[in-house]
Symmetry: C2
Subunit: 200 residues, 2 copies
DNA sequence: TTGCTGGTGGCACCCGGTGTCACTAACGTC
DNA sequence: GACGTTAGTGACACCGGGTGCCACCAGCAA
């Protein structure tokens, strides 16, 4: 493909994403048709579905790249730190956006976590993340990736990450990295606060 | 409503569920239309959607009752046992099916955990469970249900439960209650197997 | 000019889901 | 036993997400 065309495609893709994010945020996901998004982006409905497989995908940006980065970070981690620390660090690093990108991330996550249709769609995406994490745990512990512990670590760390996101969205003052660390610490220590303030 | 009609409704509902479960298992969820399910159940498509709000709901049976039972079990739990033990016990109890009901449960869960469209739909259902569990944790710890720890406990215990279900589906020899206990123990102890076999 | 390539729009179609209306069977009332 | 009421049902039209197909049109090479 020509460089010119490639640029045009990237441009169009970005325009669609932007239009989708804005319309979905303003009028709720279900109340916006793909026709309206396409119109706002200056393309036809048919073309919308050439850039994004589903209406929901326009919200997720390039999530595959996200997962790839997570996998690379986990691969590069040393065997000296605890497994959960590696996973936490990878989650923090992969979500380390610059200050001017944060509003966009907030908007995205507010949609993904708040709109039921997008919440449903997210499960499919999370599976890719879980697979990557389970494989890392399997490598570190020598277990099979399909065994209980690798799967469990993958799903519960992901639960920790999404919960941290929810708290971050709702609160606003607490930095995302802080919420992630708090959640992972609870998980790694077996929920110390459940045992009451005094005891350990 | 008359007793006769009520019986007829229950009967029809059961017939739809059965037809749906069988068709979805045999030909995959996406390859079966609601028209086909309706035909197999001897009703019209329109009537199918009077019994179940979505195609996916036909797989879930009476899930609201399930959630209510879970809530009741959590309400009835004593303050003497650890919070995670209460939740584990409630999950075990609510999934304690008799031997002749097990094949149906297996079929249901195999669909829910295996079919992407149903996996997506499940997220919405799990939210109800998470709400109930988070409220219980909040009551036990004095925190707000929207705070990090109650939410995190809810999502990660649910992650433990679904992972246990996955292992149970895949393995077949390990009883479900056993898988649930194993998963919850890992969670409660902060994943002891991650720290290697020797150390604690 | 000719031919190829790849993005695009329009169209018809499938399927899940909903609103509406007319029909019918069961029930209570006089 | 005729009556209106009530609730389940089926048929139909419609909407919106998603897909297959084809015709069109740029950009490019020979």
């Amino acid at each position: 493909m020509t460089a010119v065309l490639e640029d045009a495609r990237e441009n169009t893709r970005a325009r669609i994403e932007q239009a989708a994010l804005e319309l979905f945020s303003r009028q709720r996901f279900e109340n916006v048709t793909t026709d309206e998004v396409a119109d706002a982006a200056g393309i036809s409905r048919r073309t919308f579905f050439r850039y994004f497989a589903t209406k929901a995908d326009a919200v997720w940006g390039d999530f595959a790249a996200h997962v790839d980065r997570l996998a690379a970070l986990l691969d590069a981690t040393g065997d000296d730190q605890p497994v959960l620390s590696s996973i936490c660090a990878a989650y923090v690093e992969v979500n380390d956006y610059s200050l001017d990108e944060l509003p966009m991330l907030r908007q995205r996550m507010r949609l993904i976590l708040g709109e039921p249709a997008l919440q449903a769609h997210s499960q499919v995406r999370y599976n890719e993340v879980d697979r990557v994490v389970a494989e890392h745990v399997a490598r570190r512990t020598g277990a099979r990736p399909e065994a209980l512990v690798p799967r469990l670590v993958a799903t519960s760390t992901r639960a920790a990450a999404t919960t941290a996101f929810e708290v971050w969205i709702a609160d606003g003052r607490r930095p995302l990295a802080r919420a992630l660390h708090d959640a992972f610490e609870q998980l790694a220590e077996g929920f110390p606060t459940l045992r009451g303030p005094g005891r350990r």
